[in-house]
């Protein structure tokens, strides 16, 4: 179920980081409505990385095209996990800076949470 990181996904990761940076700036300006629109629309620049910071998945919801590999990375001092609420994927414990990757092939909604800290929730929306 876990996929090996390809060079292509590295490129995606960097463009995702760039978008996250832009989104962050927009958030600071208080343009929250625009931020939501930016996250919801999949495009070549859509984020494919979910960060874990301060016991939260960021962004909490991302939309990707089918076939996209999503990467979660834990920036906290405490381990976390990424568990599909419906049992479709499940990471091992991720220590600080550990990553988990999963490629979404089927369109649909994939809610997930941390099984250690279940208040932490998020969702991947996969479009055809």
């Amino acid at each position: 179920m876990r996929n090996i990181k390809t060079s292509q996904s590295v490129v995606f990761t960097w463009s995702a980081l760039a978008l996250v940076a832009i989104v962050s700036v927009m958030t600071l300006r208080g343009a929250s409505g625009i931020v939501h629109a930016a996250i919801a629309e999949p495009s070549s620049g859509s984020p494919t990385e979910v960060k874990i910071d301060n016991f939260a998945f960021t962004p909490g919801v991302i939309t990707v095209k089918a076939g996209t590999q999503v990467t979660w990375i834990n920036h906290d001092d405490i381990p976390h996990t990424v568990d599909s609420t419906e049992g479709k994927f499940k990471s091992a414990a991720m220590d600080t800076e550990d990553k988990f990757q999963f490629r979404f092939t089927e369109p649909g909604e994939y809610p997930f949470f941390c099984r250690m800290h279940p208040k932490m929730t998020g969702k991947i929306i996969v479009q055809p």
């Binding site: 301060n54 001092d77 381990p79 568990d83 997930f112 279940p118 208040k119």
Partner: protein
């Protein structure tokens, strides 16, 4: 800003504190980190005291027996908040061994390890071999059940337990119940005991008369402290409904790395300090992550804030007993 934060904390604590204890005084006593608590049983009423300084003044003299609660060792954690958690666990063990009256046993309320690694459990076992108490009882924290559905933990610490590691035992007329609320957690939820364990608990308690003192222990608090940070247990109300008929019930938890306590009728709730690193008071930080203090302060912090918990009518008596530096401040609830 500081006042705002203080107000927020006061507000958060308001519901927790219908017991006559001044809220600011209570907050002052929410210790960051420490080494453990000694519990002595006098006439079936558990009384806790930090074991560092006050134990000499009367200690467990005249008590039926005593035990020590330690929690949240997080062996394997090596981040700036405490790069050597094995050393601070050893400090706790040294303190226990230096007590004038040897505790009958130790209860560890979970998060023995950081990542459920065999090497982490090995290190904990090795350290606890040096403790003079006859026995150590465990319940798992969420950090201990990370691999193979908790097999590693259950093989080492769960022999003779039920389900994911729950059990009960009796000591000189007191009934102890160890519960597990860290597995099969639901997205968006808090800690969870689950249907099977609750049924077992109801059945287990039926055999005991209402005059039997009950001590329940579990990792995540069995009372709602701060749901935003997951500091509570979804189905704890049901568990507590089974103990309502008993005359003395003490609930011991870990997980939040600080002392908080509450008395509700015949129920006394208490959370223990960690032997590894402090966590922030509810709502005072962006998250519940480890609280970093300067290295030279950590050792001080581990020893400085001791809390005595005395049942006195309906109220608490809390004593701040720093190991070094400024003198102790007393706060007694009316």
């Amino acid at each position: 800003m500081a006042n705002k934060t203080q107000d927020l904390i006061d507000q958060n604590l308001q519901d927790l504190n219908d017991d006559g204890v001044d809220r600011r005084g209570f907050l002052k006593c929410m210790a960051w980190a420490g080494t453990g608590l000694v519990w002595t049983l006098n006439g079936g009423i558990p009384v806790s005291r930090a074991f560092a300084k006050t134990i000499g003044k009367g200690g467990s003299k005249g008590s039926d027996f005593s035990f020590v609660q330690i929690s949240d060792s997080h062996i394997g954690f090596n981040k700036p908040a405490n790069p050597d958690v094995t050393a601070t666990l050893q400090v706790a063990i040294d303190r226990i061994n230096a007590m004038p009256h040897k505790p009958d046993f130790i209860i560890h309320t979970g998060d023995l390890s950081q990542l459920s690694k065999p090497s982490e459990f090995d290190t904990l076992d090795q350290a606890l071999k040096g403790v003079t108490a006859k026995q150590v009882y465990f319940v798992p924290g969420e950090h201990d059940m990370l691999t193979d559905n908790g097999e590693q933990y259950l093989q080492r610490y769960g022999k003779g337990t039920k389900g994911s590691g729950w059990y009960s035992f009796d000591q000189k007329g007191v009934h102890f119940v160890g519960l597990v609320n860290v597995v099969n957690l639901k997205a968006g939820g808090l800690g969870s005991l689950g249907h099977e364990q609750l049924e077992w608990l109801e059945d287990d308690l039926k055999a005991h008369s209402a005059s039997t003192p009950i001590v329940m222990f579990a990792h995540i608090p069995l009372w709602t402290i701060y749901p935003d940070w997951g500091w509570g247990t979804d189905d704890s109300e049901q568990a507590l409904s089974y103990v309502k008929r008993f005359g003395s019930v003490t609930v011991l938890n870990g997980h939040i790395h600080q002392v908080m306590q509450k008395v509700e009728g015949k129920l006394s709730f208490h959370t223990a300090m960690s032997t590894a690193f402090p966590q922030p008071a509810p709502g005072t930080a962006p998250s519940a992550g480890p609280m970093k203090v300067p290295a030279e302060q950590l050792q001080k912090v581990l020893g400085i804030t001791d809390v005595n918990y005395l049942v006195s009518g309906k109220s608490l008596a809390i004593v701040d007993s720093p190991l070094e530096g400024s003198s102790a401040s007393n706060k007694t609830g009316g």
